[in-house]
Amino acid sequence: MSQNLESLTVETVFSRWPFAQQHLAEAGLADIADKPEATLSELLDAGQLEILGNFISVMEDFLGTKDEKVHEVTILGGRAKDGSDEPVRELTVSVGDVVCIVGPTGSGKSRLLADIEWVARGDTPTGRHVRVNGEVPGDKWRFSSEHKLVAQLSQNMNFVMDLSVEEFLNLHAESRQVGDPEEKIKRIWNWANELAGEPFALDTPVTSLSGGQSRALMIADTAVLSASPVVLIDEIENAGIDRQQALDILIREEKIVLMATHDPILALMGDKRVIIKSGAMQKVIEPSEKEKANLTELRAMDEKLMGLRHRLRMGERLDEI
């Protein structure tokens, strides 16, 4: 425990174990809260770290939250549609990973995601097995409201509640029973505003946010408040949202990000690309140096298209592009 602790930042520790803040304050170490970016090893000596580690252990036992943090999810290969062995036998995705899943419609992308969500135990049509933190997971991942492995963000999703942004975030924080809801709401709101580029107030009704603002708020909210360690994104539309920053936020909040996308820019932002065909994972590849170099050019093309879109909106002709 203490070994992991020392490399974590104060901010991370307080958000993961809200009770740690009070514990440190009582130990006369209240001022470490002023250095949220610093790691514990810079601020505490070995003895203090050990005491904190033990305290967290005891509290987690008491709260029943021990070992609930998901660090990695492993998929063990099953079989393809024709019954042959799935070529990829094992794929592990860890906190901070961005993994793209590509393949034609009907190739089995949805089933792969469903296998993860259902934490398959060889009991789905693909025969795959899913491990959470290297272990065979229990039923709680399948049926409880608190333990859903996968959160989803998709273009078709809308806010339907008749609430302001603040009320909405409060409601979510309350249902999750998180520590320090005010700080979390502030963080979500700030990030959403940065992502969307067009700021909105906390008292704006969620249903009157623009498309970009809604998407930004959904991403920031999922990053900070969702119970699920894995976030599945099917495309992030281009309009009015900084996609690289969206991924950065999810990573900072220690999510495992899966993207079912054929958008070249998003695909090249991933650390890994899983290629699906005939119901099976065929290969896992990493972006090549050449691909990464192309990303710059792709972004320029993207910006150009956005500019043209903007000109059309303003009633201009596109004789010169």
Binding site: S110, A114, W118, D123, T124, P125, R142, F143, S144, S145, E146, K148, A151, Q152, L153, S154, N156, M157, N158, F159, V160, M161, F168, L169, L171, H172, S175, R176, S214, M218, D221, T222, L225, S226, A227, S228
Partner: protein
């Protein structure tokens, strides 16, 4: 034969979820059938039939469809056995939000949708509270936050149920649900089994066809809303209505 009772508010996705879920069992070579209960009209039976599902429908007419359901459920089970079904599903729309068709020892499912509002889980009562499995639909059109809040509200009403998200259109989650149906208990009869929740006492004059309004016409099980009216105020136009 395995028997599953499915309930839920109107348009929550019951028919869609049943069809998608049965598809997996059909693929596995099982013979599946549905009995659909409604009030005055339904064309769900056409949908079921189109998907290769044997179907019978019962229209309750003037009766509460859940009362009608209980009065007919044993016959439905016998029909299913006679047809040689492996799985029989009943669908009924909980219209009065007070009744629940769930029977002890018979797998009970409640379908409720994300669009119905976060107050709904509390409102719909026994059909949710008494269910073994709660299926939440229409997650594809609301945000992750709303899904989580809604699921938490469902959990507050029924802490024991297994909770699943199913998309009635794409079928996402329906394979997972079908595995629970496969595990349902074998049912040869429901004779003598008990309802999980008693049906309300519906024994007022209006149950019996009365249409006129006013205390003079009200008999049997009548309860008045407390509106703080001044004493001596006649609660309606009928002479001598106040007590």
């Amino acid at each position: 034969m395995r028997f599953v009772t499915v309930s839920g508010p109107p348009s929550s996705g019951k028919t869609a979820v049943i069809i998608k879920t049965l598809e997996h069992l059909q693929k596995a070579g099982q013979k599946v059938g549905v009995v659909k209960f409604d009030c005055l009209f339904t064309d769900d039976d056409e949908l079921f039939r189109k998907n290769g599902i044997i179907v019978r429908k019962g229209l309750a007419g003037a009766l509460c469809p859940d009362h009608y359901f209980v009065s007919n459920v044993e016959e439905c089970v016998q029909w299913g056995l006679q047809e040689g079904l492996d799985v029989l599903v009943s669908e009924s729309a909980g219209l009065c939000n007070r009744c629940s068709p769930h029977i002890r020892e018979v797998l009970a499912l409640c379908v409720i949708d994300n669009l119905s509002g976060i107050g709904t889980p509390k409102k719909i009562g026994p059909m949710l509270k008494a269910a073994d499995v709660v299926v939440i639909t229409k997650g594809d059109i609301v945000s992750q936050a709303e899904r989580e809040v809604f699921a938490a509200r469902v959990h507050m009403v029924n802490t024991k149920a297994r909770l699943l998200h199913v998309n009635g259109i794409t079928g996402q989650g329906s394979f997972e649900l079908s595995t629970l149906w496969t595990e349902a208990e074998d049912t040869a009869t429901v004779e003598g089994k008990k309802l999980r929740f008693s049906m309300p006492a519906a024994l007022c004059s209006y149950c019996l066809g009365e249409t006129r309004i006013g205390s003079d016409y009200q008999m049997g099980n009548v309860r008045k809303i407390d509106l703080d009216l001044p004493t001596g105020f006649k609660t309606d136009g009928a002479p001598g209505a106040s007590e």
